[in-house]
Symmetry: C2
Subunit: 244 residues, 2 copies
């Protein structure tokens, strides 16, 4: 497959480098080291190692995860197109989580040591990176609230609504439905539940005609009711407003 030129970056209309100036684009292009293609289920970055690269997701889904000493997996966050992977590592040194592909992915590759150059030479890009990091932290905050306080049914509903909105913001939804490349086990690992219980909660949500998730397709049957049940406050996927 041929490499995509930054000038034609398919993400432009959605996210990170949204209203980039031509000058900025050239600058980014100069730092792009290549393109990485990985298969579904492969792990890009391993907990405990130190990677020399960071990536921007061009297409495909992934998740960040950590494992406990007794081997259980916690999914921290889902990674979608436009997201930046590896900033923590680039800045702090060592990975403390893994990143695993859920689907085949294409990623832009940058080098860790260039991060400093970016901060020095192109503050607006540095700002964009920090913006991304803040957005991710905000998602983590929401997740923690959900995992800490809610009952299983609410957690599942909340996650489904959240993922639907993220997919929709990327143009991946058709009406009230979208594709989620997840198994019920992934959902369980993200919420701190067992796959068994997730199964029960999903059938319950379907029986109540709120949310249906079958064969990799998520459908919001009654969004209003689902929001009411879960207490979801749809953060309408904040657009970047540079201070500038």
């Amino acid at each position: 497959m041929e490499r995509i030129a930054c000038t034609n970056c398919p993400l432009r209309k959605f996210s990170l480098f949204r209203e980039s100036l031509k000058e900025e684009i050239d600058f980014i292009a100069a730092f792009k080291r290549g393109e990485l293609h990985v298969d579904a289920n492969s792990t890009l970055l391993h907990e405990g190692t130190s990677a020399p690269h960071l990536y921007t997701v061009l297409s495909g889904w992934a998740y960040r995860s950590k494992t406990t000493v007794d081997g259980r997996l916690q999914i921290l966050n889902f990674v979608l197109p436009g997201d930046l992977i590896g900033l923590q590592t680039a800045i702090l040194g060592e990975m403390d989580h893994s990143v695993t592909a859920l689907t085949p992915m294409r990623l832009c590759v940058f080098e860790r040591k260039d991060v400093w150059e970016i901060f020095k030479l192109h503050p607006s890009l540095a700002f964009s990176m920090t913006w991304q990091a803040s957005k991710e932290e905000r998602i983590l905050d929401q997740t923690l609230l959900s995992v800490g306080q809610q009952t299983g049914l609410k957690k599942v509903a909340l996650l489904m609504l959240h993922l639907f909105d993220r997919a929709k913001a990327l143009g991946q939804a058709k009406g009230e439905a979208c594709a989620l490349p997840l198994t019920q086990t992934h959902i369980a690992q993200a919420l701190g539940l067992t796959n068994v219980h997730v199964s029960r909660m999903l059938t319950l949500l379907a029986r109540r005609k709120l949310i249906e998730f079958r064969n990799g397709t998520l459908t919001l049957l009654d969004r209003a009711a689902a929001e009411a049940l879960s207490g979801y406050s749809g953060s309408p996927e904040a657009e970047r407003k540079p201070i500038l």
Copy 2:
């Protein structure tokens, strides 16, 4: 109380601006808008509002929190001296969490609109800010792992070890003991448990001679055993290593 000059910042020897050059210090001083003193239990920043300031904690403890629709409180993170408050807000616009003081606090006040200036004029400070944000995200990751996967006893032990290490890194520990300005209810709200259950777990930890927390004083009676029980992997409070 008289205002502290940046040149004599008591935090220098610990954190954020660790090896700042004189030039940097002058730069920071130019941005310092004042000093804020707040009482214990007052809320600095309110969820849902938009604040024009960000703060660096000079002294005192606080916590970040969110509330569910049904009124339950989740503590996301504890805030200690050297931490930056309000970066998310400054960058994303609106607060989605509150910050509440646990003790009397002194804070350095900066203005939100100056953040962009910092990125433009002093990349190494911008980098420091992003470094802080990454560190915080890493703590959130750990918390999520703990809240999601562990049993109550482990969660409590984990949090106690974590807070002890953070306090120690700030020179607030004497031997194997340190002061924690928390109630058991705070611990419960941070871990997604009830105060009743936290009480039981703490007495259990004390009876097993692992960890004791009484009258605001935390003592590690048997650190090795506590680590083994909880699976704590002491991240030895990473020092900032600038890429530079």
